[in-house]
């Protein structure tokens, strides 16, 4: 037997973020320098040709608000304005819902501030027939797909018009009509399901694509690996998105392994195509999604996309981030704010101005408030009306078996 040199092991490492409350955040380790020169491989290329991008960053919008480089999707001004509109709508909705939670009108809420581009750009780049398996922070997809805001609010109010009959916590939307799957409270579970969905579509010869989203923290779950493995083995037409917003409640991305490799790099090990994209750059997210969708749709298999972004607000209404990260961390985030960046781009193109921006925000705030007034008229969790009580015994099985019938009777309803 060989004798290894005896040294004192230094214990194991527990990763720490660059700063804690009171400290000065430093994101330089993330390697987020302007990368407009990242080349754009053919969407039908072998996965290996994309792997260099896992350690780079696809960016289109530069610091001057110009669209540059091979990934520029060259969208029309109309499309860009639509993107801005949808992002602002999402933001207006989020802000109102937070207030409502603070007022006790809804029991729980999750904002996506700073991450609006990820859902909106992807939602716009995908085909309406494509299937979505989102996590809870992609509410923008609903707006991109044109869901009625009142319906969304009714769900969050758990009222009589909630299409989920009050059974789910707010923000756990389902919208079958919009090909939007059910959001689970359990992290990551829908990721491998999305691959199964995609396989069924492919088996029927459909040309639709399935996309799913998880957070950086969720990549640690076994289901992440299940999805990657299935996608790799069966070459399903699926887009596996990782939204790296630097935080998972109080744990920074290093606790999910983010200091050892990028999340996009996870895909390399499975031979997936891998893209790493500036998640606060509407055009970059759009382009990456479009690339992956084209790849999947033409039978060239799955893509993993890491969108690098920052969770600018609390994790949820149950969270207080000032206890674990510097208050100004969002300001220090090198990739800016997705709304501001798209706005600046449109202004630079001469297709927008600050006045229209202000007016749009005002109009959206009004729309949101009006929607809320309407939604509230269908009830609130606190004051009702709710869906009928017997509904709690329904939909457990297709038909109610004897034991549930008895339990309903036992409750006297």
């Amino acid at each position: 037997m060989t004798k290894a040199p005896i040294r004192n092991a230094p214990g194991f490492t527990v990763p720490e973020p660059s700063a804690r409350p009171g400290g000065t955040p430093d994101f330089s380790a993330l390697n987020l320098k302007a990368q407009e020169s990242v080349s754009r491989p053919d969407p039908a290329c072998p996965p290996q040709d994309t792997h260099f991008i896992a350690n780079s960053l696809i960016q289109v919008l530069n610091e001057e608000g110009q669209a540059k480089g091979p990934w520029d999707p060259k969208l029309s001004a109309k499309t860009l304005r639509e993107g801005l509109h949808l992002m602002l709508k999402t933001r207006a909705y989020d802000d109102r819902m937070l207030k409502l939670q603070r007022q006790g009108k809804i029991s729980f809420y999750v904002k996506c501030r700073g991450e609006e581009a990820i859902a909106i750009a992807a939602g716009m780049a995908l085909h309406p027939d494509d299937m979505l398996f989102p996590a809870y922070r992609q509410q923008g997809l609903l707006f991109a797909r044109g869901r009625d805001m009142i319906d969304m609010m009714c769900h969050c109010l758990s009222n009589a018009r909630d299409n989920l009959k009050g059974r789910q916590l707010p923000v756990h939307y389902t919208w079958e009509e919009g090909r939007f799957f059910s959001i689970s409270g359990n992290l990551g579970t829908q990721y491998p399901q999305a691959v199964g969905w995609a396989m069924a579509s492919a088996a029927r010869g459909e040309d639709t694509v399935t996309a799913s989203w998880v957070g950086d923290g969720t990549t640690a779950e076994g289901d992440f690996h299940s999805a990657c493995t299935l996608a790799s083995v069966y070459q399903a037409p699926v887009i596996l998105n990782v939204v790296n917003n630097q935080w998972a409640i109080s744990s920074f991305s290093g606790i999910a392994g983010g200091q050892s490799a990028t999340f996009a790099a996870r895909g390399i090990g499975y031979g997936l195509a891998t893209l790493r994209v500036d998640g606060n750059d509407f055009l970059a997210v759009y382009a990456a999604t479009q690339w992956a969708a084209e790849r999947a749709r033409s039978g060239n298999g799955p893509t993993m996309i890491e969108s690098v972004t920052y969770r600018a607000d609390a994790h949820s209404t149950s969270d207080d981030p000032s206890r674990y990260r510097p208050k100004n961390e969002a300001d220090a985030w090198p990739l800016g704010d997705p709304v501001e960046r798209l706005k600046d781009h449109l202004i630079a193109l001469g297709e927008w101005d600050e006045k229209r921006q202000t007016a749009l925000i005002e109009a959206l705030n009004k729309e949101v408030l009006a929607s809320y007034k309407k939604a509230e008229s269908f009830g609130t969790l606190r004051d009702g009306p709710l869906s009928p009580v017997p509904s709690i015994f329904e939909d457990v099985f297709a038909e109610q078996p004897w034991h549930l019938r008895r339990q309903r009777q036992d409750l006297g309803v």
Partner: protein
């Protein structure tokens, strides 16, 4: 089609797949070694060749992935039948069952559903040691929204599998592997029997169903009621025969939703009851049955309901027959219940 054939339980399960896949191209089938090879027990043999690789295929060794994939496919209009190679290995996928499969209809208020079948061989008696012998049904009976079946013979195995695949709910089928090739009455010293001479080994070659939720009274009797399922049905029959006890023996077949009507009717008649299962005793499915029986039949009961079960230990390899709830223990429980 009214032809019948002699089949083992494996052949009957295979035939059910064949019938289903022939009739409905939404039905697909997969699992570890279940594609090309046709499964380590052969339940899906020949199907890939017949129906092609996108309908019958091998999966990676990841039970969570298998179930999740099945959920996604089922939600997207397919009717998957997935095999979990051994019931002992279903637990990596437990979360997908508890948190996802069985809640999808409920949490989406019916917008999405996942009508699929999970099949898995369970139970002991084959010297499989602690990781090829488990009877984990009780864990699943506590999950709202899951239909759970366990056939005890080829006829039921085929008829229940067809019914399961045609059901709009997710169904989990436990297949007692000790019965795959023949009935087993609990006596390991007898020569192994095949299904060829057994009534229930005669199976229609075509389509038929065995109703979900209906127990089968496999022996009518007046002295006491025995509630059993899977392998224990055969152990109960032989034990009663040997002891000359006029037991009414119920083969549950469906665990959830269980046929309480049949059980209660029998217990109200006999006044005595014994519940059997291979799984460990504490919080086994027998506990549920007994809790319900004592509630519904309290005034008819003349003796406490006894349970004969596996012990509250992992399934030991060498002492298989000291663990397995065999004829001696079943007979003793029946006798004690009659004398109580």
């Amino acid at each position: 089609m009214s032809t019948t054939a002699r089949m083992t339980m494996i052949q009957a399960i295979n035939s059910a797949h064949d019938v289903l896949m022939e009739r409905d191209d939404r039905v697909c089938s997969f699992g570890e070694d279940a594609g090309y090879f046709g499964g380590v027990f052969g339940c899906t043999q020949g199907l890939q060749e017949k129906y092609g690789k996108t309908r019958v295929f091998d999966t990676p060794i990841n039970e969570a992935a298998i179930i999740a994939m099945a959920i996604g496919m089922a939600a997207n209009g397919m009717r998957p039948i997935a095999e979990i190679q051994f019931a002992d290995y279903i637990f990596p996928g437990f979360d997908q069952v508890v948190s996802e499969l069985t809640r999808l209809r409920y949490r989406t208020a019916g917008q999405y559903t996942a009508p699929l079948v999970l099949r898995t061989p369970c139970g002991g008696g084959i010297y499989g040691g602690q990781t090829h012998s488990m009877s984990p049904e009780a864990f699943f009976t506590h999950i709202p929204g899951l239909t759970i079946l366990m056939p005890s013979n080829p006829y039921d195995a085929k008829g229940l599998l067809i019914a399961a695949s045609e059901s709009d709910d997710p169904v989990l089928i436990f297949e007692p592997k000790r019965l795959y090739n023949g009935p087993f009455d609990g006596d390991p010293h007898k020569p192994a029997l095949g299904w060829s001479s057994h009534d229930q080994g005669l199976v229609p070659t075509g389509h038929y169903t065995v109703p979900i939720g209906k127990a089968d009274i496999v022996r009518a009797g007046a002295a006491l009621t025995v509630v059993a399922y899977g392998t224990m049905v055969h152990v109960a029959l032989e034990s009663a025969r040997l002891a000359g006890i006029d037991a009414e023996i119920i083969d549950l077949r469906t665990l959830i939703p269980y046929d309480m009507e049949t059980i209660a009717k029998s217990v109200n008649k006999t006044g005595r009851c014994v519940v059997l299962h291979e799984a460990p005793r504490t919080s086994g499915f027998g506990a549920e049955l007994i809790a319900q029986i004592q509630e519904e039949c309290f005034y008819a009961l003349e003796a406490p309901v006894k349970r004969v079960t596996g012990w509250d230990t992992p399934y030991p390899h060498a002492h298989e027959w000291q663990y397995f709830p065999g004829q001696e223990r079943v007979t003793r429980a029946m006798t004690e219940t009659l004398e109580a």
